[in-house]
């Protein structure tokens, strides 16, 4: 939190803002990209959402209250931006979020920015069959290896709920992989 405080001070100071912000981007860009990409699937969409996330962070730095870690706050913004992106896509095409993701996963095999083998592709398809919240929890826990306490702050859900969600997600995916 102390490190956060120093970084935020530099971010809010016009003289040091640009340097501090580049440092922030460098620190979190990969992790945020992976989180966003896991939700929106397509690389170009992930790029747009990632840029929008950092721009939103930049414009709202003064509203960060320091009650949570800077990382949790930024991660939450990234997650919300990605979900909002999917929501907009669903609304535009008059389909559900579930159908948007299903379509994207079905096109993954021919995606230039997907190098997964058969099992990786199957795993993505298995995850796409889960309810929205379970998908999110599974991806953040399994791929990003976030701790439950961090997940709890980002998703504003209790640790117990998250553990249950993850447990159910794992069982369903294992079942899917066994039967497909």
């Amino acid at each position: 939190m102390q490190e956060d405080k120093a970084l935020i001070e530099d971010l809010l100071n016009l003289k040091t803002q640009n340097t501090a912000f580049q440092k922030l981007v460098f620190l979190y860009q990969k992790q945020l990209y992976n989180q966003i990409r896991s939700i929106v699937i397509d690389h170009d969409d992930a790029h747009d959402v990632l840029q929008n996330t950092f721009i939103k962070v930049f414009h709202n730095l003064s509203s960060f209250k320091g009650e949570s870690k800077l990382f949790s706050w930024i991660y939450r913004i990234a997650t919300n931006e990605a979900i909002t992106f999917i929501n907009k896509k669903a609304k535009k095409n008059k389909i559900t979020n579930y159908e948007v993701v299903e379509k994207l996963i079905n096109n993954l095999e021919s995606d230039v920015y997907f190098e997964g083998d058969e099992i990786q592709l199957k795993l993505q398809k298995a995850i796409a069959t889960l309810p929205e919240k379970q998908q999110l929890v599974f991806k953040m826990k399994y791929f990003e290896e976030l701790k439950y306490e961090e997940l709890s702050k980002i998703l504003d859900t209790s640790v117990g709920s998250l553990k249950a969600s993850y447990h159910h997600a794992v069982k369903k995916i294992e079942n899917y992989l066994k039967n497909n």
């Binding site: 640009n18 990209y33 990409r37 690389h43 950092f54 920015y113 997907f114 190098e115 083998d117 992989l177």
Partner: protein, 148 residues
């Protein structure tokens, strides 16, 4: 086939990849975009041709217009003659059946009673026994009238 155990088996990666050098260029492109947006905002502020006090001018004009309109409506609606239209009074009484003759009489002052007497005496010659008899015979609600 060996069952999957996601918690214990080696981690299966997502399979997603990025273009070559994507993250090297990302922050540079992002800063360029942010600086561009700052410039656009600055230029928008400079280019603005609205006078500083436009909002204030319009507010004053709107208030003035309201005052003029209000005065006009007030003048138009002033009732010079304070008397109530007879038809309005009749309608009021007919739609309020709970109002009795006693309630009406209670509201009369000496000047009103004197006026009524004068009216009655003026009409007296018109009300003779024959007229009265004719009226009573022709009116179906004679009993109600008598009760009243």
């Amino acid at each position: 086939m060996k069952p999957f155990d996601l918690n214990n088996d080696p981690k299966i990666k997502s399979g997603f990849k990025t273009p070559e050098g994507y993250f090297d260029d990302f922050s540079q492109n992002l800063m360029a975009r942010i600086n561009q947006e700052k410039l656009v905002v600055k230029q928008t502020k400079v280019i603005s041709i609205k006078p500083k006090y436009t909002k204030l001018y319009w507010s004053v004009a709107a208030v003035f217009a309201l005052i003029i309109t209000g005065a006009f409506i007030y003048n138009y609606s002033i009732v010079k003659d304070n008397s109530i239209e007879f038809e309005d009074l009749e309608n009021y009484v007919s739609y309020h059946p709970n109002i009795t003759t006693f309630d009406l009489v209670k509201e009369l002052n000496n000047a009103d009673i004197k006026q009524l007497e004068e009216n009655l005496s003026n009409n007296e010659e018109l009300i003779n026994n024959n007229s009265l008899e004719t009226y009573l015979l022709n009116n179906q609600n004679i009993e109600e009238i008598l009760i009243d």
